[in-house]
Symmetry: C2
Subunit: 123 residues, 2 copies
DNA sequence: CTTGATCCTCACGTTGACGTGAGGTTCTAG
DNA sequence: CTAGAACCTCACGTCAACGTGAGGATCAAG
């Protein structure tokens, strides 16, 4: 498959795919003229990469984790990285949840203000 | 209170506090010699700012929200911003949760590999 | 054969929340 | 009164995941 099709089906930019290759996350072989050729599996692989990026993992972390998908061989570094990132994500979810709760408070207060009759300018 | 003390008590760097002032998030008056003077309330304010930064809000968004804490007057922009950011945070939590689940899968597989007797080199 | 879509490789630009000196002033404890 | 801690204002550096041309080759269709 050519790069444009992979980009379309995985929902990323062509530039992003070239960047992933530069980072060693996706390996593409080349046609005689130098155009990248991807296997079908690349689409799912890229989607997975996007999932991890969206969770705040850096290229380096993803690079350490991805080989496991190919070989199903877990080195100690890979296992450690998996658990580290999982822990980090949990911490991040907790922080987001706290922020969400605080925003909910403010939204409630805001709604109360909107409904306060004496302070409404109109009507 | 002086900037160093605020930084220590709020758990941020002195540089960060100057940056917050530059962004209009924390207003400090000055001593005759030009040193920043903060009220006690600044510590809580900065902690709240940190909470929002940790949740991925940008300075601009925080700047739109913060006046509500002071005046308890909600403009339509503030209410909209509050709800937009809340929605964004929810989406982000969902993404993180999906990533967490995927990592859990991999961690399980990794553990199974570790326990596979035939593939252990030692012993 | 030609034309428009798609691809290639550089390589610099972007963004945000600070870090990090440089060079100088002010405060405070002894 | 003096040294060191703490403060000040520039102002450039950082880092990551791409965006965005520049300038050119290749491919698919008519």
């Amino acid at each position: 498959m050519r790069i444009g099709k992979v980009a379309e089906r995985a929902g990323v930019s062509v530039r992003a795919l070239r960047y992933y290759e530069e980072q060693g996350l996706v390996i593409a072989d080349r046609s005689p003229s130098g155009h990248r050729r991807y296997p079908e599996s690349a689409v799912e692989r890229v989607k997975f990469i996007q999932l991890l990026y969206a969770a705040g993992l850096a290229s380096k972390a993803i690079r350490q984790i991805l080989p496991f998908l190919d070989t199903l061989v877990a080195t100690p570094q890979m296992t450690r990285r998996l658990m580290d990132e999982r822990a980090r994500i949990r911490v991040q979810i907790d922080a987001l949840t706290r922020a969400q709760d605080r925003l909910d408070e403010l939204i409630r207060l805001s709604a109360e203000y909107e409904n306060a009759p004496a302070t409404c300018s109109a009507t």
